[in-house]
């Protein structure tokens, strides 16, 4: 099986390199640089009509959605990073995978886009702020007594969630101490550090 990862700097692609480096699965990385206006390069549209990244080619088939990539890689190549399908924890696992790009991301994108308006739309920003506070307070409480989001063991749910938490810290000045501790712990993992190196290399055009 041949995996090609189309990597874009400052994108959800980091989820996928972190996981692939963590499990040591061979893959080809194809770097793409954002344009000066921060848009993805037009060339990505030749690979997939949505024109965004990451894209994962699996034996030539192209899929989008970084969390789907994480779930697929784990299901097929690293089952130790997921609870068994018939275990009580499996429902939590699927919940966190979905949560990371829906409930966790929607209010952040809302704030990120609306805050750039010349006249900030007050209702939209107020709604985004109150949702962000509620959602990340919930995550923060979940992490209060757990090393990783599912407990003592790193799972695919962490590979999905961590990016959302980093994005949250970029757009929202919340003080969520358990989230800070969680991200600091992840920062100690060699695979996380390798993923940061890859990001820097793509950013610097190496």
């Amino acid at each position: 099986m041949k995996l090609k990862l189309h990597y874009l700097d400052r994108s959800r692609a980091m989820r996928v390199t972190w996981l692939l480096e963590h499990i040591g699965l061979p893959y080809e990385l194809i770097p793409h640089k954002r344009q000066e206006n921060m848009h993805a390069p037009e060339a990505l549209k030749d690979i997939h009509p949505l024109g965004k990244a990451p894209l994962l080619e699996i034996d030539g088939k192209v899929i989008t959605e970084s969390v789907a990539m994480v779930e697929w890689i784990i299901a097929n190549h690293a089952p130790q990073l997921a609870p068994a399908t018939d275990s009580p924890e499996y429902a939590d696992y699927l919940q966190w995978l979905q949560f990371s790009e829906s409930t966790a991301m929607i209010p952040l994108v809302l704030k990120f886009i609306a805050a750039r308006e010349p006249t900030p739309p007050q209702n939209t920003l107020a709604y985004a702020d109150s949702e962000i506070e509620k959602v990340y307070d919930y995550v923060n409480r979940q992490l209060a007594n757990k090393r990783y989001i599912m407990g003592d063991k790193l799972t695919g749910a962490d590979f999905a969630l961590a990016f959302s938490l980093i994005f949250m810290k970029m757009v929202y000045q919340g003080k969520f101490t358990h989230i800070d501790r969680y991200l600091a712990d992840l920062n100690q993992l060699p695979s996380w550090q390798k993923a940061q190196q890859i990001e820097q290399q793509v950013l610097q055009g190496k």
Copy 2:
């Protein structure tokens, strides 16, 4: 195993009733009515800190995220509605599950919220419109030669995607003929019709 579904009118809960009715899995439905300001009732916060619905109780454990519920129910109780984990189609299946609440939903929520501002934020609306056009044109083309989103067979990807397409039609006046045909076909399914009846019953407080 005992399933309790906390159902909220005009919400993503319809995905879950449609699936449960389709496979004939027993469950208890607990109706919750939106308040006059369209917010979910405060009582939901007693069941889950995020205070939203649907919520699924599985032997007393509560999870959020309607698409996670769909995936969990299928994995454990209706495997015929998903491709095998090691099949080439499995990556597409996971992609559509994620897509339905991330790529497909983010620009719709952006438009839905921003359009209610007294002074509409022009950049935000322009971004939302261009994303919606791109994303649903992609879905429309995917449906051009297929009965369901994965091909001839109904899968969990349809249970996830259909709600997003209905929401799209509520907030965006696009003319996507293949999406219209797809939704009209789904409308013929007895399980879909049953889900609509449940929605009406909850709306009318029955």
